[in-house]
């Protein structure tokens, strides 16, 4: 394809991505280096019969004018990155030098909003991945052995948690695990504890949200593995059988190696989606016990006075996280392409 034609065809899509993905990334970086304007203060002295008193008040008009003039705020360098709400170097080193044990240090760090969110995001991402893979694979094997009619029904039901709006999916589950909901009540009955609530403790909240994540993402792994199973060559399986391989051995030495490239694909997509976990925290109303990187950005943006600098800094750090996560994949793909 001639270069000119290529660029003509790609132009609409390319311009859209340039304007609304590439530029916003630049804009986020610029914002993260700024901080909100200071309020303009007026100090006035009012003198009465008992002496003079100084009062300070905010000059709303001048503050608004300043904000209109410099909407980005003041230049702050990397100040926002290092403050308590982000990388918090001072607090971390204080926690390290003042630690009585390693657990104590971890506790100290987990009180810092950025690290709290980072740890949850990573836990969610890496704990859910093996479950999604294993469950999706087992489900694909099981469904593959079903009768044709049943397959359709099972696939229909399986697609539901996947295509459902994440916020809605988490709300549906949230209402069921509510202390007055069906699962919540059943759990109270099983553990004979009328006070039991899945929302109360951080550990239970984490487990709930990770369970939601597995529920939501397993269908994707299932569909991909199921389609992969349809392409496993029958002859190879047959010859393995003739060689006396048991069902387990056939699965282990024929099917799994054949599906291995799909595992990489499912992992890649799931890692990308899990890393931006956000809606379940809103849906499960879990922000007291579990926050994610996306959630703290959203939280900064939904304050009465939107904290663009803070949201920007967290965004940049999140983007760096995505880059680190993707680096191996991008590098491998590029290498394959070069050698091809």
């Amino acid at each position: 394809m001639p270069h000119r034609t290529f660029w003509l065809f790609i132009a609409p899509s390319g311009i859209a991505m340039l304007l609304f993905i590439a530029l916003p990334i630049v804009s986020v970086i610029v914002q993260s280096l700024h901080i909100e304007n200071e309020k303009v203060l007026i100090v006035s002295e009012s003198c009465g019969p008992f002496g003079c008193k100084e009062t300070t008040r905010v000059d709303e008009e001048a503050s608004a004018a300043l904000n209109a003039e410099r909407p980005l705020g003041r230049f702050n360098g990397i100040g926002t990155y290092t403050n308590r709400n982000h990388l918090a170097f001072e607090e971390v080193s204080a926690a390290w030098s003042g630690r009585s044990s390693f657990a104590d240090f971890v506790d100290g760090v987990m009180n810092l909003p950025f690290y709290k969110a980072l740890v949850f995001t990573l836990t969610y991402t890496f704990v859910s991945t093996p479950f999604v893979l294993a469950l999706g694979f087992t489900l694909a094997l099981a469904v593959n052995s079903l009768h044709r009619w049943l397959k359709g029904v099972v696939i229909f039901a399986t697609l539901l948690p996947f295509i459902i709006t994440p916020l809605i999916g988490s709300l549906v589950l949230f209402w069921m695990i509510d202390a007055d909901g069906i699962i919540g009540k059943t759990l109270q009955f099983i553990f004979d504890n009328p006070e039991l609530s899945l929302k109360a403790s951080p550990a239970l909240t984490w487990i709930t949200i990770i369970t939601y994540g597995i529920w939501h993402s397993t269908p994707f792994a299932f569909i991909v593995f199921y389609a992969g199973l349809q392409t496993v060559p029958g002859e190879t399986l047959e010859s393995a059988m003739i060689d006396g391989a048991s069902r387990w051995e056939r699965t282990r030495y024929v099917v799994i190696p054949y599906l291995a490239p799909l595992v990489v694909f499912v992992c890649l997509i799931h890692l990308m989606d899990a890393f931006r976990v956000f809606e379940p925290i809103v849906g499960f109303n879990a922000s007291a016990n579990a926050t994610s990187l996306s959630w703290i950005i959203y939280n900064d943006l939904s304050q009465e006075v939107q904290l663009f600098g803070s949201a920007g800094a967290t965004s940049v750090l999140t983007i760096i996280g995505v880059m680190i996560l993707l680096a191996p994949v991008v590098w491998l793909t590029w290498r394959d392409y070069r050698s091809a």
Partner: protein, 295 residues
């Protein structure tokens, strides 16, 4: 599966284990939706029963108040009192526009990427992959200030173009993989016959691409319909789509004891997705595997 039946004989314990596993999964996957749909026709005292969860099934309190075990009160409250219909109309506008524009941009770009052998085409694909991984909210925090400045914050067209752009990386990858399956000879013979690239694309390639376009369209629809991060932060109160509207119910109505409004609107917003899966199950399955199985 021919080789399945021909070569494999299942042992009974395995058969039982498999059936049990599938049965449990069916309940886990589908029951929450049916439960919520059933409960949305009850009143709060039944669906969130303090005394007995079986009230949600029988609707004791609902019968006591309305004389019938089913009531549409929650739906009336959400759709009429709380103006959920307006959010539904907004959602319709946003999703239809996003799908149409995404597919127009995406087919052109995907075609170019599938047919070009240049190194920059591959580099573009890698960049698109990285863009695909960006959490949407990180981009939103970059939009807001410029949008305020340009005075375009809050309007539906803004959300539409933003969603189109966010959707492009995925659309490009998917459509490219469908275009790769259309043999190059088809373009070449059209070019030899004197078509321009544009004509070859419109009259020769697109007619055989419809399955791919429909499948990709479904996923664009899902992205636009399911989005919360962008629509919640970019649209003003009046222009809200369904998902942020439901989220706003949570803040205001849970305290007033009108959580049933949220339940009813959740069920309302789920219904179109149900229909979508029923009608397009095959396309969704083929779309999920397009990128993976075909390499």
């Amino acid at each position: 599966m021919s080789h399945e039946s021909a070569t494999q004989h299942r042992s009974t314990p395995l058969l039982i284990a498999t059936s049990a596993f599938i049965f449990i999964w069916l309940i886990v996957a589908a029951f929450p939706f049916f439960w919520t749909m059933w409960g949305s026709f009850k009143i709060q005292a039944d669906f969130f029963s303090k005394s007995d969860w079986s009230n949600a099934v029988t609707g004791v309190n609902t019968t006591a108040r309305y004389g019938h075990a089913f009531t549409g009160v929650a739906y009336e409250g959400a759709w009429v009192q709380q103006d959920f219909w307006r959010a539904a109309v907004n959602s319709l506008i946003v999703t239809v526009s996003v799908v149409v524009i995404s597919l127009t941009f995406g087919t052109l770009g995907g075609y170019a990427l599938a047919r070009s052998t240049a190194r920059y085409a591959f580099a573009l694909l890698i960049v698109a992959l990285i863009f695909r991984a960006m959490p949407h909210i990180t981009l939103v925090s970059g939009y807001l200030l410029p949008f305020f400045k340009l005075n375009i914050w809050g309007y539906l067209p803004t959300a539409i173009i933003v969603l189109v752009a966010i959707n492009q990386p995925f659309t490009l990858w998917m459509l490219r993989s469908f275009f790769m399956n259309v043999p190059r000879e088809l373009d070449e013979s059209a070019l030899v016959d004197g078509c321009t690239r544009g004509q070859a694309f419109c009259y020769v390639i697109m007619p055989v691409m419809w399955p791919g376009v429909i499948t990709t369209g479904l996923f664009s629809f899902l992205l636009a319909y399911n989005d919360f991060a962008v629509t919640a932060t970019i649209l003003n109160q009046h222009n809200q789509t369904m998902v942020p509207k439901i989220a706003s119910f949570l803040g205001t109505t849970q305290t007033e004891g009108n959580v049933m409004f949220a339940v009813a609107s959740v069920v309302s917003a789920t219904a179109p997705l149900f229909v979508l899966v029923l009608v397009f199950q095959r396309n969704i399955v083929s779309g999920l595997t397009a990128g993976a199985v075909k390499g």
